[in-house]
């Protein structure tokens, strides 16, 4: 069965729904490809994402996913068209780009989703691949189209055809009150939607961040210097927007749209709300942005924001420029390594050495008084204790000698044992045995932290 045909095949008399054998009989050299609905849907979603270069409000058309009827994308370009030189220029640009990407596309720009849908499918042809219907002209533009342009189901369209209603215009003449009882709720609803009498809301692909800055390059950009300049401009624009609402960005998303229709997203967080353009622009390293064959459009969005008053920026309670500098540094390091890998240590009430220190924010230190002192603790603590061969003279004695990493150490001085019992209230397998810790010093003066668990010996840390 044929699911979809291209222009040449349609000219030869083939159409969706025709058995493959018939098609082969009519056109002997027919080229076919297996239908892959999942991949088609994925490609459509990718294309919808790519359309984000024009507007954040993009969605895959739920009514037009049937490949035979032509899959569709919906874009809400309200307030975006002027960035591309007007609605007509935007439509022409989009049509040309889609053709360049290898798609056969029709597109229409109208007041309502319904009108644009119908006009794109029934109001465009090969000579006019795109149409822009001026404000308020949708009603007239829809009138000559067949009723199927109203996004009707197959049964609904057939019913209208039986009544001899062959155009949308014919429906205008009927009293609206009679439409619903005669033809069912679908038709009345679709007609009202197409004419803008009932609002219809696009459900966008991704949540639309309220604060976005967009930059369109005159030519595809491939080198770091113009990218960095573009980033600065974007950050400046975003920060002006944030400033008007007294907000600071906590999470940023940079999206670059490449010439070849692919896109790349970089997301990162900041340690505290910020709307300093220099700082935000420096978080993204231009060399991290893979330009591919060139970048056409960049958007910078603040996807998570927090209140940040102008006063807070001027009168930093934690002390002037130094604290700001530190926050900036922590953000830059965090953007590169992950904010969880830039930290200070904070004491944790636990006898187990591996749990005795926790992560704290790099920006607020804990006082030295909070740390417990007085017990020997190593300067470096291994995440995984290393098994060693050790010999102790008596069961509770420190080892007389041990071998670690193939080097033999004679123990000269030792302190211990310090018994550390596992925390029974945690259900932690592998931690069942009590450990007897010894601080030992070998003949050369190297100091190690060893423990015995059962009969086995481990080296857990190094002293200074």
């Amino acid at each position: 069965m044929l699911a979809a045909v291209d222009r040449a095949a349609a000219a030869a008399g083939l159409g969706p729904g025709m058995p493959l054998a018939d098609g082969r009989a009519q056109v002997p050299g027919l080229k076919t490809a297996a239908l892959t609905p999942l991949e088609d849907a994925r490609a459509l979603a990718r294309l919808a994402e790519w359309c984000g270069r024009y507007t954040p409000w993009t969605a895959v058309d739920p009514a037009g996913s049937d490949p035979g009827a032509g899959a569709g994308l919906l874009l809400d370009v309200t307030g975006c068209a002027h960035l591309f030189g007007g609605e007509a220029a935007l439509a022409a640009d989009l049509a040309a780009r889609l053709t360049g990407l290898g798609f056969a596309a029709r597109l229409a720009l109208a007041d309502t989703v319904g009108a644009a849908w119908g006009l794109a499918r029934f109001g465009c042809d090969r000579s006019t691949p795109w149409r822009v219907v001026p404000r308020g002209a949708a009603r007239a533009a829809l009138a000559p189209l067949p009723p199927a342009a109203l996004r009707l189901s197959a049964a609904g369209g057939e019913l209208l055809a039986r009544f001899g209603l062959n155009s949308v215009g014919a429906l205008y003449d009927l009293p609206p009150a009679t439409l619903e009882p005669r033809f069912g709720p679908e038709l009345a609803q679709r007609l009202r939607q197409a004419l803008g009498l009932t609002p219809e809301v696009l459900s966008p692909l991704a949540p639309v961040p309220p604060h976005v800055a967009r930059r369109v390059f005159a030519e595809p950009v491939m080198t770091a210097a113009p990218l960095a300049r573009g980033l600065e401009k974007l950050a400046g624009g975003l920060c002006r927007r944030l400033e008007s609402e007294a907000l600071g960005a906590r999470r940023l998303e940079l999206t670059v749209y490449r010439v070849d229709g692919s896109l790349r997203r970089l997301a990162l967080g900041t340690s505290r709300p910020s709307r300093d353009p220099d700082h935000l622009a420096r978080l993204f390293a231009p060399e991290d942005i893979d330009p591919g064959f060139g970048i056409e459009v960049m958007t910078l969005a603040a996807s998570v924001t927090e209140p940040l008053s102008a006063l807070q920026m001027v009168l930093n309670p934690e002390g002037g420029a130094g604290a700001q500098d530190l926050a900036g540094l922590v953000d830059r390091l965090g953007a590169r390594f992950g904010l969880g890998r830039v930290f200070r240590q904070r004491p944790v009430e636990s006898h187990l050495p591996e749990r005795a220190s926790g992560l704290a924010s790099a920006l607020d230190p804990a006082g030295p008084a909070a740390w417990r002192r007085g017990r020997p603790r190593p300067l470096r603590l291994f995440a995984h204790p290393e098994a060693i061969e050790a010999v102790a003279l008596l069961p509770d004695h420190p080892p007389a000698r041990f071998r670690w990493r193939r080097v033999r150490h004679e123990v000269v001085r030792a302190e211990g044992p310090e018994r550390i019992v596992p925390e029974w209230w945690r259900d932690d397998p592998g931690q069942a045995e009590a450990r007897d810790y010894f601080r030992v010093e070998d003949a050369a003066g190297r100091r190690y932290w060893l423990y015995r668990a059962g009969r086995r010996w481990f080296l857990h840390g190094l002293f200074a």
């Binding site: 830059r332 240590q345 002192r373 000269v412 190690y448």
Partner: protein, 254 residues
């Protein structure tokens, strides 16, 4: 050294680096402070610390590196950025050495290149007491970049060479302002002879801008978090250094 020569040196340095005479922070060890030019550890410079050639673990080297940075943290009252591939400095262990673990901002980076990048980024920040990094290898170019960044931004840098494998080739010359090699030494006095006492390090000053190389035996006082005064000695057991033989212009030997 005569005051006029001192002034001339300061002028030459200012011409060379574009910054005024270096400030120093005393380490609190009279012997060592007298040995170092200016009476302490130079600020806004690169200091390199490495373990002894045959040492596998770097406990003494890491401890000495922290000990060098500790007076700086205390004097400036700012945090130290510590960049490492493995962030395994243990908070309670730092506290046991008498240091404040909260004074360290730890950064876990993926490799030497990332460590050096983070260090340079940290050197550009004016809110730090200093920047320390652990690297396995250091090329002369990377060392020079760090030294320049430290001088220009006025922030001290500490570089700890940490070996994750055996040494393969000879060390390239270092441009660091000071370069120290640290080996362990049998620990100092303890209440009982069988117990480990205060940590002691056999420290070799391999290179120092404006001072002769020397050997020192240092002892760290865990209770106060500074070098122990009494036990810090010039280590004469390794024989006289060339500086002593030549006499080096009347420099006081400790």
């Amino acid at each position: 050294m005569s005051p006029s020569l001192e002034a001339l040196r300061a002028q030459v340095r200012a011409l060379e680096t574009g910054v005024a005479a270096p400030r120093v922070v005393p380490l609190g060890v009279p012997v060592l402070d007298a040995w170092l030019p200016g009476g302490g550890l130079t600020l806004a410079a690169l200091h390199q610390v490495e373990g002894a050639r045959d040492e596998w673990d770097d406990g003494p080297a890491a401890g000495f590196c922290l000990a060098l940075a500790a007076p700086l943290i205390a004097a400036l009252d700012r945090p130290l950025l510590w960049v490492a591939r493995q962030a395994d400095l243990h908070g309670p262990g730092l506290a046991a050495m008498g240091l404040d673990p909260g004074g360290l901002i730890l950064v876990q980076a993926d490799g030497d290149r990332e460590v050096l990048w983070a260090m340079e980024e940290g050197l550009r920040c004016g809110a730090l007491a200093g920047v320390a990094g652990e690297v396995a290898e250091l090329t002369p170019t990377a060392g020079r970049r760090l030294q320049l960044a430290a001088e220009v931004n006025g922030v001290s840098a500490f570089l700890l060479r940490r070996r994750f494998g055996p040494l393969r080739r000879a060390e390239p010359p270092s441009v660091a302002s000071t370069r120290w090699r640290v080996a362990p030494a049998p620990s100092g006095s303890a209440p009982l002879a069988a117990l480990p006492g205060r940590p002691r390090w056999r420290v070799e000053l391999l290179r120092c801008r404006g001072a002769a190389p020397g050997n020192f035996l240092m002892e760290w006082d865990d209770a106060s978090g500074r070098f122990a005064l009494a036990a810090a000695l010039r280590d004469r057991s390794l024989g006289p250094r060339p500086a002593e033989i030549i006499g080096s212009g009347g420099r006081r030997a400790g």
